[in-house]
Symmetry: C2
Subunit: 457 residues, 2 copies
Amino acid sequence: MREEILKAIQEIVGEEHASSAESIIHTHGKDQSDHERHLPDVVVWPENTEQVSQIVKYAAAHQVAITGWGAGSSLEGNSIPVKGGIVINFGRMNKILKVHEGDFQVTVQPGIFYKDMNKSLARHGLFFPPDPGANASIGGMVANNAAGTRTVKYGATRDNVLALEVVLPSGEVIRTGSRSIKQSAGYDLTHLIVGSEGTLGLVTEATLKLSPLPEHFSAVLATFETTEEAANAVYGVIGSGVGPAALELLDSEAIRFMNMRVTDLPEKPTLLMEFHGATAASINAELELVEEICEECGSVRFEAGAGRDERDRLWEGRHALGEILFSVYPESNYMITDVSVPISEFPVLAAYTNGLFDEMDIQGTLFGHAGDGNLHTTTFAPKDDAAKNADLHEFNSRVVQKAIELDGTCTGEHGVGIGKQKYMVYEHGEGAIETMKTVKKMFDPNNIFNPGKVISF
Amino acid sequence: MREEILKAIQEIVGEEHASSAESIIHTHGKDQSDHERHLPDVVVWPENTEQVSQIVKYAAAHQVAITGWGAGSSLEGNSIPVKGGIVINFGRMNKILKVHEGDFQVTVQPGIFYKDMNKSLARHGLFFPPDPGANASIGGMVANNAAGTRTVKYGATRDNVLALEVVLPSGEVIRTGSRSIKQSAGYDLTHLIVGSEGTLGLVTEATLKLSPLPEHFSAVLATFETTEEAANAVYGVIGSGVGPAALELLDSEAIRFMNMRVTDLPEKPTLLMEFHGATAASINAELELVEEICEECGSVRFEAGAGRDERDRLWEGRHALGEILFSVYPESNYMITDVSVPISEFPVLAAYTNGLFDEMDIQGTLFGHAGDGNLHTTTFAPKDDAAKNADLHEFNSRVVQKAIELDGTCTGEHGVGIGKQKYMVYEHGEGAIETMKTVKKMFDPNNIFNPGKVISF
């Protein structure tokens, strides 16, 4: 079967652009989550939309599973080909097709990596704001509705996608949306595809909203004695109408890890903020207000106006957090929690989660995009300690259920993938899940697009 | 048939809450567009979701059409019951269910009117920003993805809906989304329902994102000799990273109409802008930059810092534009154009449209939410001049086609309704339209929800 698929696919893309080599299928069998590896039969690197369409038509005719692949940086098993079949690696479809400079838009192929794209766009004074930390592919970001540190001001990926080219599970190619910022012309297929994790369509082209690189910015660090005080300050800042471009909460454990390699900060609960503005004066006016709010909430240290180098180091530390943790405890298993709640419930959730660390005697750190109500934890346990590893899952499960009880969601930005499916009915109710199933069946009656993800049946 | 439906519906809601009286069905047969009146058989005022569900179940069992009704202020025939049947007037489901003050959210029933809701929310220091001008119902705004003067900063309705309760064409009630700002948990049913004009589901509850009322604001008027200069200034302002809360273009004709009743402005192409900020200093810093940009683009007058009264009068004039025009020429037919393009194409579209006024000898005015690339015209012709009335349609059609050619859309904010269906394939292509049809058939296999709208078959 594998040989047959490979041969058919090689006929479409050329022999050198499809492979079933062990090393190849191994690296395409697992993302950055702790979910089990599943090997695809064939990995293919198409060159254009027409080839993708032909591959899909072959798969449709032969009932072979198809899973898209970008950077492999997903965190819920989103890109693991659990039913084998074909993995489409978009690595050769990685071009910027057009920078619409006057419109602050770019049209790209899905295989381009986020950081590479933003490096190119900087020459035009523009950037794509959703910042997932990892150097994800744009196709992956669109598929998972990725978000990150800049989302509090600029929105998630979903908020920044205007138009798509999509290959449907039939192999048909459609275009959705338009380059107009305002669109009311029919059903919003674009945003149905965004976040569908490759289960409804494969994105072969995306037109994204960009933002002008801020003329002026300022990074701010505010240190508190307790996480609750820091969380109250988050409220205050958001409620003041000031629009931070980032508002991250880091617990003392998180700061401790960051300090091991990158930063040198007091090991206390900390808010890391950034403000963007058209003028220095407008930012300074905002900063005064933010300082006042933080002081009212009990900040013991407030440091604004970091230079570019210091600011870059802070973000380097923030983004390196996971990596540092993994390297400090290499013999551990890790579990990354991603939940999101209405902002008023963030202190409640943070307190609950903190308590759970103690109650369950779990090692780990609490952090998150607090300005969005998005909370993460990274917990870890020795690989050979089965009981403790089970505890990590139990910990994750309890945090997720608490978030849903607080009117929140089981995933703010990592997507459903494999790991979050068990919470979908609890969060959405039977009716909405049945509707999602119907949508999936309508788009993909043979269940060949990333089967086993989001909605399984 | 009508009697039978009435009797069945009255059994659900009580005799006094459903009617087939001539005056009642007459007023529910037409919106504010020039599309033909169609009378429903029965108008019903349900009190709660359960009653809506029961009405829908009756309609599903008897293959009766159902159309939702809010304020009747739609502009593309969106709420006209072209197949008769039942109109559900949400006038009794008009409550604010909960203000989530700490989260800047509100949960409301669909029948509440936009202005009434914002009046209540002002007591909490909050407002729902999409400002359609008309006092639309929230249900209508959600159905049509309404937008308006504040959209350039705060987004359209779609961008400000977090969660919905929806009655499906089967009568089943589902909940979509959550109160978390960030959501990646499965298919985005919320935004599929928003803008579907009541053809996929009837919204019985909506949770909306709110914004804090700006602590400080400033209205700005910039006057130019030509529309092109004004359009260039729009670019400059948006490109600077300054985020105006409104950026309206009004041609000299529009100003002339506004001056007839409300304002006293130079009758030249004018940008009406507003800036919101947390501090006066931050706004002043932005205004300096905006003045510079406008001067570079050739502004002949720049007036910032209007007081609250003057600002309110400017917006009163802006919103009264249509009404003034209609009352000055009461014996005319009107045609309102709503198209939207990428902002770089806005000057091109404006120039084309201006030229068309001359070329076709059409009376009317050009205005729009320029900051979004959204252009409107209101054109008019004597009711008894059939040829001229045909010209209005031809004018509209040419502007729409030009907008689509410029990578734009046939409707930025009024929706597809009846009038824009003929452009859907041209804008989206056959494939996307077939996909939309499949979505409609999946949700509403009997085609009972607002039949004849968005996608007809």
